[in-house]
Each structure stands twice: as C-alpha cells, then as structure tokens.
Amino acid sequence: MQVEHLQVEVRSEPDRVVLHLLGELDLASAPLLQGTLENAEADAPPLTVLDLDDLEFIDSTGLRIILAAHERAQERGQMLALTRGSQQVQRLMSITRAGEHLRIIDNADAQLV
C-alpha cells in the first residue's frame, strides 16, 4: 500500500515484534497500519510493541486501530504495548483516557515486568 505520510517499520526480536511508526496516522494512512498489524499478528508474537516516538500525529481513526489491536491481543492472551509518543499522541491518550487502558512503556525495548 502506498501512503506517503506514514511509514511503518517492522522489527522482529526474540521476545517481541516492534512496529515503528513514522509520520502521521490518520484516516488515509490507517489502513497501512491495520495491514501491517494483521501481518505481524499472524506470527502470534507474545508481545507487539507500537513505537510511537516518531509519530507526529494521530487522530481518532488511528486510535481506534490501536484499541482494536489491544482488544484482539487480550482475547488471544497476547500483549500490546506502546511507547509514550509525541506530545500530540500523549494529548490524545489523556483526552480520551485511552492511555489508562493501554500498556505504555518507556521505549520499544523496555522489559515488561
């Protein structure tokens, strides 16, 4: 899929798969993340990390995809975690209070206790 304002880099580690998001996540670019997530989930990694530190913008469409992925992970006994992200990402997480329901980690390689 060709989306010019979002890039998703996938990195597989022994204990996790990391999706590094660069750019802007909105209605137009959401399908790219959706597709990448589905691919990653096919391998059933115990932990999926969304690295949002280089995500400049996220809107409610993007949030919906993250929340849906979170729900799927819970159903399968897997884990979804995300990094804190830019100010705009953090602002959306606090306005919607979605952050309280998600696992937030300091960096993509942080250990979950």
């Binding site: 304002h5 209605l27 913008f57 809107d59 409610s60 849906a68 602002r91 209070r97």
Partner: protein, 595 residues
C-alpha cells in the same frame, strides 16, 4: 511490368558495349521480375523528378493503373493527388521527401508519412526509404530508389491504443460527466474526425447535446445554433435518435447533397447542414448497464480524410468506454445527493432560540461529497429552563459511520428527555454503542447542560474522550471547561466526570471537534493553543466573526483539503436586556459587548 527507355537497371551503356547486351538484358528482366514480386512499392526517380522505373505495387499505391503511367507522368504531378503529412499533422512538400533530399546532398533517414488520398479520403501510413544509385563514371547520384512500406495497420493500431489510453485517462479524471464528455469531444478532434458531438438521453427522456467540438470556434458556434434550432427528437427516423433507439452504430460515407436535403427539416436547416458540410458521419451508441444512454457523433467535413469502416471500430470502443464512465458518474451524483440528504439528518434542521443568548454553528464536512458521517452537533431544550448542547465525533466515514452518528445524536436526545444529567447521557450512549453488532464504533462527545438564572447561566459539562469546550470572556481570557472522560464505544469501564461552571453576560462558550485543531499536516496544525489564541484575539468580534476567523484559519491550514470534518457550536450570553436572542445582532450592538 513495363520497361521504359532510360531504365536505370539496364543503364545507358548498353549502346556502348554491344557484346554484353544479351547478358545485361537477361539480368534486367530477372531484376524486374524480382521487383514485381515485392509487396513494397518501389520507384526509381532521376534528378529531374522523373520516374524511370516503378513496380506494380508503386502504381497501386500511387493510384495509377500501370507503372508505365507513373513513368510517363510529368515530374511532381503525382504528389498533389495526396495530402502528405508528417506524424504531427504538418503538411510536407516534395522537397522534404527522402528521394529529393538525396539529390540535395543529404543522407535522409526513413520518413514516416501520413498519406491521404484526396480523391477518396483514404488514409495510409507509409515509411519512405530512399537510397542512391551512383553513376560509376562521375560518382554523382544518378537515381534515387524509393521504397514505400505501407504500415497503415500497425500504425493505426498503435495510434488507436494511444488514443484509447488517453481517453481512458480523461474519462477517469472527473466525476462530472458533462465536463468529461466535453474532454472526450476535444480528444476526438482532429484525431478521429473534424467534428465530434456527444448527446445523452437526459432524465426527461430528451436528447441533450452535452458536448460538441470543432477546431474552429466559428464553426462551433454554428453547431450550437444548429442544435438550438433543430435539436433531434427521439422519434426522428434517422440519426442520433435511431442509434439511441436501436443501440446499433451507423456509418454514412460519401454523403451527397440529396441525402442532406432529405434529412433537412427546412431551408434554414439545409443551409446550416451545408455549412457543416458532412462528407461522412459515424454515430455510435454509448452503452451502459441500463442500455443506450447516449451517442457519440463523428463527422468528417473539410479535411481530405474521410471516416470509413476502419474508424467505426475505434469509435465504438470510445463510446463503450464513455458509456461506462457516464453511468458511473451518474451513480456518483445520485449518491452525493443521498449523502447530502443523510448528512442533513445528522444535524439539526435549524438551531432553536435561547432567550438572552446568541447561537452560531458551523459545519464543514471533509473528503469526498458522498462520504457522510463523522461530526455531529445538536442543541435542544429537554424541558423549560434547560438547554442541552452536544458536539461529537464518530470515527470513520461512510454509511456505517453515518448510522452510528444518527444513533449517537438520537440516543443523547432520548437520554436527555428521560431527565438524565450530562454524564449519565454519555453513559447511556456508551451502552447503546456497545450493543451495536460487528466491531468497535468509537465516538467522542461533549454534552453541556445550560440553565439560565437571573445572575448567570449555569453550566454542567461532561466529556467523553472529547476536547473540552472553551469559555471566552469578552476581554479575551479563555478557559477550558470540564474534566477528561473516557471515549465511548470501545473501552470498559468508562469514567465520565461531571463538572460545573458558569457563563456570564458577554461570555461565549465554544464547542468544537478535533477537525478544528488537527486540520493540516503535522506541524502546521492550529492545535489547542492556537485555537485558544485565536479565540482570545477575536473575542471582541460579533459571534459569527469569531467563528469565521476560526473556520478561515482551519481551511487555510488544511490547504483546501480537510482531513476531518470541522464542527463548531457556540453560544454567547447577551450583555443586556436590549439584545434579543436569535436575532442577528448588528455589529454596532456587538461592538458594545466588547468594551
């Protein structure tokens, strides 16, 4: 095969070296026999332009009965029978032919020419190659041997593909089918014909000319006059009407005056037809899934090239492709109309009046016109002395989002009517969204209950994942009201907090959606601080002025294309008893507010 004197193959030395004559004659006959078998036309021309040898293929190509006729023709007398053009349609003269250029001392490349037989209008594509025959005594060029390769079919197929791919590009470029068909007409001229007209069957069942093109604007005006005065009717026996009825293409070649007289309604009609001057006409049906929806008419008139059966196939392809596009565009237009109706059902028909307050709302939907859903707002009076303001955003676009948006708006109304407070209203909406089948529908909303009292207007604010509303004081102080609450529809449990505030005379409460703060690329967005700043700067303006400034700032950042819907709902408490609610306040009155 004929043999003329001065035949270059025999050469002029036959008289000088008598002993070799029989051998030379044999050679010559063999060579002639070989050339006669060639499919390519071959001519041999001397420096004076005289044809000294030609094979039968050359005679055929150049429109004479025998090679002998070519050889006895005066130099330069054959070429005027043809219109000779280069690949770009520029007329070529005799001097630019490779054979002539050889004699001019050049080393000409093979030349591709479009050759039109003036007498018949037949079009051919030829590659002309010329090579020199040197005089062994002087080493000067004695003759040019011209070989004409007829590549009409290959060239035409190539041009047709190019034309169709261009047409496809044009047809896919717009959803406005009127505009698109005008482009098709422009594309067909002069490539296919001198004239191109497109007629469609409109909703009233009439034939409507939607596009006509000719390279000459004066002629174009005449065609429009012709259409105004003598628009074809569906019950006409021939022409566009017949093709519309039957769905069968028609071609009329070699049109004579008699045929025009028979077709003309009266003398003026005849005069206009004569000015158009059709020599050949092709009418092809544009066919969609529902049948014939229109026709494309091609006319060759003043140019020597005539439309023929080989053009019919291309015209039919063009019409088929256009038919599909027109149909798609029509469906799109219809869907846009439905979307528009749907969208209105998501928003209040009109805003009610609140005594002692002014109300303004703005809504700019983002994206394609047939995408509905997204933002919504509402303002209603659940009971005396109470007003409910709602603004919200349903994630996504399209019919599903539109359905959820309608659900949200009506659920909140019903909840308010059953005397629920704002936080409870939002919880009710959350439960309703969770009951929705198939997947998460994410919704954010802000509900404000307004209760005017003699001293001030009391506010109760509840937020669910939504931006807090802003209170703007006339002097420019801006405060966000409410506590963050969980967005609705996807997470459990949710936490919604109710908080209270008040609005005093001259103060404004602004509810907005994230489309306002997030329009445009990251880094260019207005953001919450930008919006607050803008509110502070414009606080002294009339209420519609404030919203206009915000809207302008948003559209400017979105650079013409919004990422998300933009909704704004604002209430301003009037500053004195003189101001009536609902009535548009004059700027003089509004100015008083600010100072």
């Amino acid at each position: 095969m004929s043999r003329a004197e001065g035949n270059p193959i025999a050469g002029e030395r036959q008289t000088a070296e008598n002993a070799e004559i029989p051998e030379l004659l044999r050679l010559e006959r063999r060579l002639e026999a070989v050339l006669a078998q060639l499919a390519e036309a071959v001519t041999v021309v001397d420096e004076n332009g005289r044809t000294v040898f030609a094979n039968q293929a050359a005679a055929d190509l150049l429109g004479v009965a025998t090679p002998g006729e070519l050889m006895s023709a005066a130099p330069g007398s054959i070429m005027p029978r043809f219109q000779v053009l280069d690949e770009h349609g520029r007329e070529l003269d005799l001097e630019s032919m490779p054979g002539r250029r050889l004699f001019a001392g050049e080393n000409p490349q093979p030349l591709l020419v479009r050759n039109i037989v003036r007498a018949t209008g037949e079009e051919r594509w030829l590659v002309v190659r010329s090579s020199p025959v040197l005089d062994p005594d002087t080493d000067r060029i004695a003759y040019a041997v011209n070989v004409f390769e007829n590549i009409t079919e290959v060239k035409r197929a190539q041009l047709n593909e190019r034309f169709m791919s261009e047409a496809s590009r044009v047809l896919a470029s717009s959803m406005d089918y009127n505009e698109t068909l005008q482009q098709v007409a422009r594309l067909a001229v002069p490539r296919l014909a001198d004239w191109c007209a497109v007629d469609v069957l409109n909703e009233r069942g009439e034939i409507e000319l939607v596009a006509v093109h000719h390279a000459d604007p004066d002629k174009l005006a005449m065609a429009e006059r012709l259409d105004r005065r003598y628009r074809p009717a569906l019950d006409d026996a021939t022409g566009v009407a017949e093709v519309l009825r039957t769905g069968e293409a028609r071609i009329f070649t070699d049109i004579q005056t008699d045929a025009l007289i028979a077709y003309a309604h009266d003398e003026e009609h005849m005069e206009l037809l004569r000015m158009v001057g059709p020599q050949a006409v092709i009418i092809v049906p544009m066919i969609g899934a529902t049948g014939t929806i229109g026709t494309i008419t091609l006319v060759s008139s003043e140019s020597p090239r005539r439309l023929s059966a080989v053009d019919l196939a291309l015209a039919e392809r063009l019409a088929r492709r256009s038919g599909t596009s027109v149909e798609r565009a029509r469906i799109y237009t219809e869907r846009s109309r439905i979307a528009h109706i749907l969208e209105r059902s998501l928003l209040p028909e009109s805003l009610p009046e609140i005594p002692g307050a002014q109300i303004q709302a703005r809504y700019s939907p983002a994206g394609e016109i047939n995408e509905v859903g997204g933002d919504f707002y509402d303002l209603f009076q659940p009971r005396d002395g109470q007003w409910i303001l709602v603004i919200g955003d349903v994630c996504g676009k399209g019919p599903r989002a539109a359905g959820v948006t309608a659900l949200a708006r009506h659920t909140l109304r019903a909840a308010a009517l059953s005397e629920q407070a704002p936080a409870e209203m939002l919880r009710t909406l959350h439960r309703a969204l969770r009951l929705q089948p198939a997947g998460a529908d994410l919704c954010t909303a802000c509900v404000v209950l307004m209760e005017p009292t003699p001293e001030c207007t009391r506010l109760t604010v509840a937020l669910a994942g939504h931006q807090p509303p802003l209170r703007i004081e006339p002097e420019g102080a801006v405060t966000a009201l409410g506590e963050p609450g969980t967005l609705l529809g996807v997470l459990d449990p949710i936490d919604i907090i109710e908080s209270t505030g008040e609005l005093r005379a001259g103060e404004t409460l602004l509810l907005y959606t994230d489309g306002v703060t997030e329009a445009g690329r990251a880094g260019r967005q207005l953001g919450e601080s930008g919006l607050r700043g803008l509110c502070a700067q414009t606080a002294h303006l009339p209420l519609d002025g404030v919203l206009e400034h915000i809207e302008h700032a948003v559209l400017e950042r979105a650079t013409g294309r919004l990422r998300d819907d933009v909704a704004l709902l604002a209430v301003r408490i009037s500053s004195g008893p003189g101001e009536r609610s609902g009535a548009p306040a004059s700027s003089a009155e509004e100015s008083r507010l600010a100072f």
